[in-house]
């Protein structure tokens, strides 16, 4: 079978599986639709969270990003996993005890204020839509590359599948499809990584291979790559180019942003008990770590392979995969000095670089570069789709529940019946899928920056006020509202200024203290904390019933 036939077979089979699961787990009450009836086992929820969390960017983009960034890529590895420690220790158990359906639910009740609820709804919807645009695009791109259908058609197919299980099954349908999607994506990620690790280092475990010896040169792999990088005028792989302060701030923003993302937080509403919420975060991180510790290994294997197979190679003798990927535009060669050879060099080299490599290619082209069997290529495509679809579904649920629950039931139409609310939730989910599809087919030209925006916003809005809501009874509604707004305003203005209005000024000389727009969420978070605490001190303390509520969420089970 050809790679394309394998891809088609595996993609169709995986989609049939997702739809089959969706039919079996339809939601019939709002509790099932929003939180899967709180009946999900901690292990299953951990897997679902991992799939929910790991997006097209984690699956397709991250290894490539690290491959080009070297040590600087650590910000993603630590940032996107360290947030789970915060989630486990500071958020998940208490929010589970509170027992709400959505994040704005908690914000509105804890801060006894409809204004706070509405601010939270707006943040939740904005964060989720910015994030989902990238996912739908990812679906389209995988279809486009592997099955040679138009990218827009790919987006429509993806929409149809998500529509089916998100609208029908709500959280219940999403949860069990996400479990299946995790299995598909992790298998698809590990198989090529294991093959590569054996090929490059002789060790079948990529995490160990990375610290092992390069078979071709007999040198320690990382030392070998440092040597190659230096020779070609790049920075040493194991040292970075970003300032330490910026690395510190970006890592913090990503950690805190992760812990503040509504689609991740609501997953911990779906387990039966507080103790389940705690251990479930642990399982989620185990499943995430499996991919996140493999990614840096793939990054190094792929980079070493790439340099070895193409650096100074005559263009007429390039391997077949090179030409295939050139056709997609992800790989571009321009013979600037006319010597017919490929110069792939860094900024410190006296020569000019002639090769442009897209980040995504590292994961997508790996099976071909390593000459793996055709079924592995199909598997990678199915895995990329699983990663994108599972994240999209989780985000769309946040949007639909923010509209039907927080906006309708809790704000505008408190009298709405259970059936009416469920119907509204389905309509909202359907509308969200259509809008996401629109974003996928008409992507804003700056998807990557917009995703940084989602993290910055989550870090500077939700994280501080949820933490303070649990850990400080004295925090008042006035404090929370002013704090959220000032956090978002600062973060938003900084990101919009440097990435949308004046991208040409976006460099370390113009940034405040050298903090990049990616790291500014940390400053927004600190501002939110400071403002909320100060304002709370000078405003009347929260009413008695709110203080009692805070007492009750701090303890798993109250003693009668």
């Amino acid at each position: 079978m050809t790679a394309q036939q394998w891809t088609l077979a595996l993609v169709v089979a995986s989609f049939a599986l997702y739809i089959g699961i969706a039919i079996r787990s339809r939601a019939s009450t709002t509790k099932e639709f929003y939180v899967a009836g709180t009946g999900v086992s901690p292990l299953a929820n951990g897997m679902a969270t991992a799939a929910d969390w790991m997006s097209a960017a984690s699956f397709l983009g991250m290894a490539g990003l690290i491959s080009f960034m070297g040590y600087d890529g650590s910000v993603y590895l630590m940032g996107w996993t360290g947030g789970y420690v915060l989630l486990a220790l500071l958020l998940a158990p208490y929010l589970r005890k509170f027992g709400a359906f959505t994040v704005p639910d908690f914000v509105g009740d804890r801060y006894y204020s409809q204004t706070a609820r509405i601010v939270a709804v707006v943040c939740a919807i904005f964060i989720s839509f910015t994030y989902v645009a990238g996912q739908m695009r990812g679906v389209g791109i995988v279809f486009g590359r592997f099955l040679e259908v138009d990218i827009d058609v790919g987006v429509y197919i993806g929409m149809a599948v998500v529509f089916f299980y998100a609208v029908l099954g709500g959280m219940k349908g999403i949860t069990y499809t996400q479990v299946a999607q995790y299995c598909v994506l992790i298998f698809a990620y590990l198989v090529p990584a294991i093959f590569l690790s054996i090929m490059v280092t002789g060790n079948p475990i990529p995490q160990l291979g990375l610290g092992g010896v390069d078979l071709a040169s007999g040198m320690p792999l990382l030392e070998r790559l440092n040597g190659l990088n230096t020779e070609l005028g790049f920075t040493e792989y194991t040292s970075g180019t970003k300032s330490m302060l910026d690395v510190f701030f970006i890592t913090t923003a990503l950690m805190v942003g992760t812990a503040g993302l509504p689609h991740v937080i609501i997953r911990f509403y779906t387990v039966p008990r507080v103790r389940d919420a705690r251990v479930s975060v642990g399982w989620a991180l185990v499943f995430i770590a499996l991919l996140y510790t493999t990614a840096p290994a793939i990054a190094v294997f792929a980079r070493t392979n790439l340099i070895n197979s193409i650096s100074e190679t005559p263009y007429s003798e390039v391997p077949e995969w090179f030409t295939t990927w050139e056709d997609t535009g992800l790989l571009r060669f321009e013979d600037l000095n006319g010597d017919g050879r490929i110069q792939f060099v860094g900024p410190n080299s006296p020569m000019e670089n002639e090769l442009t490599v897209d980040n995504d290619i590292i994961v997508l082209a790996n099976p071909e570069i390593a000459e793996l069997p055709n079924w592995v290529i199909g598997l990678v495509a199915a895995g990329g789709l699983a990663a994108a679809l599972s994240t999209a579904a989780g985000l769309l649920l946040v949007v639909s529940s923010a509209v039907s629950h927080d906006l309708l039931k809790r704000s505008l139409m408190p009298e709405i019946s259970e059936r009416g609310e469920l119907l509204a939730a389905r309509f909202a989910a359907a509308a969200a899928v259509l809008f996401a599809g629109y974003l996928g087919t008409h992507p804003p030209g700056y998807v990557a920056q917009v995703v940084a925006f989602a993290f910055g916003l989550a870090a500077s809005s939700f994280f501080p006020i949820i933490i303070l809501g649990i850990f400080s009874k004295r925090t008042t509604r006035e404090g929370a509202i002013v704090g959220m707004i000032s956090g978002i305003a600062l973060t938003g203005a900084y990101i919009v200024w440097f990435t949308l209005m004046h991208p040409e000024l976006s460099n370390a000389d113009n940034w405040w203290f050298g903090i990049s727009p990616q790291g500014i969420g940390t400053v927004g978070m600190l501002l939110n904390f400071a403002v909320t605490m100060t304002v709370s001190r000078f405003t009347p303390e929260p009413p008695e019933h709110v203080q009692r509520m805070v007492d009750s969420i701090r303890v798993p089970r109250s003693v009668a």
């Binding site: 010896v213 510790t293 003693v559």
Partner: protein, 93 residues
């Protein structure tokens, strides 16, 4: 009894905060400490038995493993604490 319960809950919360504080100190140390602030001095040695520069290993592998362990330690500590203070969900609804 209610007075007594309130005092017990306060003590439970104090212990909880202490656990969280200890675990977050480790969380900070392995990521921001070893992986970022001290990465260069640590890179001058390798992780024993491997070819990993130590600082780089913490930043790209080690911190993540420690994060996983921290969460499970927290689960164990808190389940114990719940038992000790009679607020465990295992004893009934």
């Amino acid at each position: 009894m209610p007075e007594d319960t309130t005092a017990r809950h306060k003590e439970y919360w104090r212990r909880n905060i202490r656990y969280v504080g200890m675990l977050l100190a480790v969380w900070f140390l392995v990521s921001f400490g070893f992986g970022i602030l001290l990465v260069e001095p640590l890179n001058s040695v390798n992780l024993p038995g491997t070819a990993y520069p130590l600082g780089f290993w913490f930043a790209q592998q080690g911190a993540i493993y420690v994060f996983v362990v921290l969460i499970f330690v927290y689960v164990k500590l808190m389940n114990g604490l719940d038992q000790e203070f009679g607020v465990s969900e295992e004893d009934g609804a």
